[in-house]
C-alpha cells in the first residue's frame, strides 16, 4: 500500500493528503510555516495508519485477525481494543441489535456492485448462523466467539481515527485544522482567517443538489448508499444490511449527514438513523442534532 504524504498550499491554508482506511484523507491546516503543516499532517497520517494496521480486517496478524482466526478459543485484548468492543456493545444495545460488528460475514453473500445479483434467501439464512453479538462471550479483556464468526470495526474505525487525530492536534495546541477522512471530518477549532470551514456535500441527483455546510468547530459525518447498492426488479437494495434478518434495510435515506461534537457521535447517529429505514427522519427529529437527510 502506498503510504506517502502530499502537502500543497491551497488558497489560504495548507492541504496535506494521504490515503488510509480505503479513503482519501486530508488535513487542512492554517499553519504559517510549511514545516508546521507537514508536522501536523505526519502526526495525523501516522495515527491513521496505526489504527488501520491494528484494526483492519484485511491485514494478517493484527488483533482483529487474531480474534477472527481464534476458532472458538478465547483471546485477551489490549485496552484500546477493549474500549472499542465496549463501545460496540453499547451501539448494539442502542440500535436494538441492528448495529452489530459481527455482521461482516453477510458480505460473503451480498456484493454491492451496482448489479442485480441479489442472493437467495437460503444462502442468506445459512450465513446468518455466524452473525449476532449475542453469540459472543465478551468479558473484558477476554473475548471468545464461535468458530466461523468474524468481527469488523469498519463501522467505527474511520470516525474513531478522525477523533483520535483531532485530539492529538489539540494536544499540540497547534493552528486550526480540519481533519477529513473520506467525508467524516472534525474541525479542531474555528479558522482564524475566515468565518468558517466550508464543507461541500456532493449531491448525486438534480433533485438532491450540492450542499455547503459552514463548520466552525465540531464534526460532520455522512452515512449512505449513494454509490453502493443492488438494483433488481426496480427494488433498490441498500448496502446497509440488517443483521437481524440478513437483508438490506428498506426505505433508508440515500444519505444522512450529522453534525455533532465528535466524529464518532456524528457517524454513529447517522448509522443508527439509516438502520431505522423509513423512520430515519423521525428518529433524527427526536435526537436534537443538526442533520441533513437526502432521499
Amino acid at each position: 500500500m502506498q503510504r506517502d504524504i502530499r502537502l500543497d498550499l491551497a488558497v489560504d491554508a495548507w492541504q496535506g493528503r494521504f490515503q488510509a482506511m480505503g479513503s482519501p484523507c486530508e488535513v487542512v491546516s492554517e499553519a504559517r510555516k510549511r514545516r508546521d503543516a507537514l508536522e501536523v499532517t505526519s502526526l495525523v497520517a501516522a495515527e491513521a495508519w496505526r489504527i488501520e494496521d491494528k484494526f483492519s480486517r484485511y491485514l494478517d496478524g493484527n488483533i482483529v485477525d487474531r480474534i477472527n482466526s481464534a476458532a472458538g478459543r478465547p483471546v485477551e485484548v489490549d485496552n484500546e481494543t477493549a474500549d472499542l468492543l465496549d463501545f460496540a456493545v453499547t451501539l448494539y444495545r442502542l440500535s436494538e441489535h441492528r448495529f452489530d460488528i459481527t455482521s461482516g460475514v453477510l458480505r460473503r453473500v451480498w456484493r454491492f456492485d451496482g448489479s442485480d445479483k441479489v442472493p437467495g434467501s437460503e444462502s442468506v439464512g445459512e450465513v446468518l448462523q455466524w452473525v449476532g453479538w449475542h453469540r459472543v462471550d465478551w468479558r473484558r479483556p477476554v473475548l471468545a466467539m464461535p468458530h466461523g464468526m468474524e468481527i469488523d470495526f469498519g463501522g467505527i474505525g474511520k470516525e474513531y481515527a478522525v477523533d483520535r487525530c483531532a485530539g492529538l492536534i489539540k494536544e499540540l495546541d497547534g493552528d486550526p485544522c480540519l481533519v477529513n477522512f473520506g467525508g467524516d471530518l472534525v474541525a479542531t477549532q474555528a479558522p482564524g482567517r475566515r468565518r468558517s470551514w466550508k464543507v461541500a456535500i456532493e449531491g448525486d441527483t438534480a433533485a438532491a443538489p450540492d450542499r455547503i455546510i459552514d463548520l466552525k468547530q465540531g464534526a460532520l459525518a455522512t452515512s449512505g448508499d449513494a454509490r453502493r447498492f443492488l438494483l433488481r426488479d426496480g427494488i433498490r437494495y441498500s448496502h446497509i444490511l440488517d443483521p437481524t434478518t440478513g437483508w438490506p434495510i428498506r426505505d433508508a435515506p440515500r444519505s444522512i449527514t450529522i453534525a455533532a461534537d465528535s466524529c464518532v457521535e456524528a457517524g454513529m447517529i447517522s448509522t443508527l438513523a439509516i438502520l431505522k429505514g423509513a423512520a430515519a427522519e423521525h428518529f433524527l427529529e427526536a435526537q436534537d442534532v443538526a442533520y441533513w437527510c437526502r432521499r
Binding site: 498550499l9 477549532q189 455547503i212 455546510i213 465528535s262 443508527l272
Partner: protein
C-alpha cells in the same frame, strides 16, 4: 419509540463516546448549512451640484455557489438619471436659445450662465451573467455576458478571463478579453457631425442609428510577496470603433477676434437657435493603453490598498489615477475605510472651447468637458459592519471635486473674462447590504 427514549440514545452515545475517546467533553459543534445563494445589494446616489446630473441606482448581484468552487453570478442594475449636463456651448452675456436634441422644441439660457442641456432623463436597465470554475488544480476561468438598455442606447457584450497559479500559488497570471457591441439611437436622430444646430422641426441634418464596438484585452500578474503583502500589475488594451461622438454635444462658432458666439439669422415664425452652434465630431477610432499597479498590505487587521493607473490613448489623452484605501477594524465586527482618489488628465487633441470663424473648420472637434484638461479628487469614508444575523452592511459617503482649465491658446477675446471650465462638485452615497 417515544421521544424520551430517543433522547436517551444520543445521551448514551455521548457518554460512550467520552469513554471511548478518553477525553473530556469536546467543544460543542457549530455547523450550519450555507445558503447556496448569496445576494449583494446596493443603493447608490450620485448627485452633482446645482441642476446637474443626479443618478439613483439600485443593483443586486446574486451568486449561486456549487461544489468545487464553481459559481454562477447574475446581476441586475437599474439607474434613473435626471438633471442637466453642459451642452458644450460657451457662456454669453446675452440669452442663448437652443433647439432641443429631439428637434421638437427650444429652450433659452440666461446671460452669463453655462448652457446646460436639461433633457437628460433616462432609465437604464443592465443585466449580467457570469460563470466561474476551476480548470485542473491551478487554473480558473470566467465567462460572462452583459446587456443593457436605455432609451437611446443598447449594449450587448461577452467576456472571458483565465487565470493560472504558479509557484505554489504565490504567482497568478491572468489574461482576459471583453467585446461589446453598442448601438445608439439618439433622440431625434444622430446629427451629421460639424453641421449647424437647426430650427425646431428641421431634421435635414439628422442621420439614422449609429453603432460602435469595443474590444478590451487585459493581461496581469498577481504576486504574493509575503503573508502581508500582495502586489498586482496589469496591462490593458482597448480599441473602440464606430460612432464615438456624443450626439448631444455642440461647439459654439465664435468670432475669431472677440470670441463671442456668432448670431444666427432667425427664420420668422419658427423657433430655433439664437446663435451658431455646430454638432461635435470625434474620430471613429480610439485606442487606449493602460498600465496598472496595486499593492495590498495587511498589518494586524488593517489593510492598505494603494493603486496607480496610467492611461494613454491616440486621442492624446494621458491620465494618471492614484487610489488609496485604508481599512481599519473597529471592534470585532465593523470597520472604517477612508478613501482618497486623485485623477488628472490632459485634453484630447481635438478638444477646443469653441470654433473660431477665422480658421478653417477642423476635421474633429469637441468641447465636451470630459475630454478637457482637468484634475479630480474624491475623498470619502466607508463604514461597514456585520449585522446581528451575520450579514454585512456598509455605508459609503464620498465627495468628488473636478476642476479643469482650458489651454490659454484656445481662449479668444472676451472669453478670457469668463469661467470657461466651471468646477464640478458631486456627492456619492452608497448603502450596501450583503446576505
Amino acid at each position: 419509540m417515544s421521544r424520551k427514549e430517543n433522547c436517551s440514545i444520543s445521551a448514551a452515545l455521548a457518554a460512550a463516546t467520552c469513554t471511548l475517546l478518553g477525553s473530556g467533553v469536546p467543544a460543542p459543534v457549530d455547523a450550519q448549512e450555507e445558503p447556496l445563494w448569496d445576494f449583494n445589494t446596493s443603493l447608490l446616489y450620485y448627485g452633482e451640484d446645482g441642476d446637474r446630473v443626479k443618478d439613483f441606482s439600485v443593483s443586486a448581484i446574486a451568486r449561486r455557489m456549487f461544489v468545487d468552487d464553481r459559481f454562477l453570478t447574475l446581476s441586475l442594475t437599474v439607474d434613473g438619471l435626471t438633471g442637466a449636463t453642459p451642452s458644450g456651448a460657451i457662456r454669453q452675456d446675452v440669452p442663448q436659445t437652443f433647439t432641443r436634441p429631439s428637434g421638437n422644441a427650444a429652450y433659452t439660457v440666461p446671460p452669463e450662465v453655462l448652457p446646460l442641456d436639461d433633457t437628460f432623463k433616462d432609465t437604464r436597465v443592465a443585466l449580467g451573467a457570469g460563470w466561474q470554475q476551476p480548470v485542473g488544480e491551478t487554473s480558473l476561468i470566467n465567462v460572462g455576458a452583459s446587456a443593457s438598455r436605455e432609451y437611446d442606447y443598447t449594449h450587448v457584450g461577452v467576456n472571458a478571463k483565465m487565470a493560472r497559479d504558479f509557484n505554489q500559488r504565490n504567482t497568478t497570471l491572468s489574461a482576459g478579453f471583453a467585446y461589446s457591441f453598442d448601438s445608439l439611437d439618439p433622440v431625434g436622430g444622430a446629427p451629421t457631425p460639424l453641421t449647424p444646430m437647426l430650427d425646431v422641426g428641421d431634421t435635414s441634418n439628422r442621420l439614422g442609428d449609429q453603432d460602435k464596438d469595443v474590444l478590451d484585452l487585459i493581461i496581469g500578474i498577481t504576486q504574493v510577496l509575503s503573508r502581508n503583502l500582495v502586489v498586482q500589475a496589469n496591462y490593458s488594451y482597448s480599441k473602440s470603433d464606430g460612432y464615438l461622438t456624443d450626439p448631444y454635444k455642440v461647439l459654439s462658432l465664435v468670432d475669431g477676434t472677440t470670441g463671442d458666439t456668432l448670431l444666427r439669422t432667425l427664420t420668422p415664425g419658427v423657433a430655433g437657435p439664437s446663435h451658431q452652434f455646430l454638432f461635435e465630431n470625434r474620430p471613429g477610432e480610439r485606442t487606449k493603453h493602460s498600465i496598472y499597479g496595486q499593492v495590498k498590505y495587511y498589518m494586524n487587521g488593517k489593510v492598505l490598498d494603494a493603486s496607480y493607473r496610467y492611461m494613454t490613448d491616440d486621442w492624446d489623452i494621458d491620465s494618471h489615477t492614484v487610489d488609496l484605501r485604508y481599512r481599519i477594524p473597529f471592534g470585532a465586527d465593523s470597520y472604517f475605510e477612508p478613501h482618497l482618489r486623485f485623477y488628472t488628465q490632459s485634453e484630447a487633441e481635438f478638444y477646443q472651447l469653441s470654433i473660431p470663424d477665422s480658421q478653417p473648420l477642423p476635421g474633429f472637434a469637441s468641447a465636451d468637458y470630459r475630454l478637457g484638461n482637468f484634475d479630480a479628487i474624491t475623498a470619502g469614508l466607508k463604514y461597514g459592519w456585520r449585522t446581528r444575523n451575520d450579514n454585512e452592511m456598509s455605508v459609503r459617503v464620498e465627495a468628488y471635486r473636478q476642476s479643469g482649465t482650458v489651454p490659454s491658446s484656445q481662449i479668444i477675446g472676451n472669453q478670457a473674462a469668463r469661467d470657461n471650465y466651471p468646477d464640478l462638485n458631486a456627492v456619492i452615497v452608497q448603502v450596501g447590504y450583503r446576505f
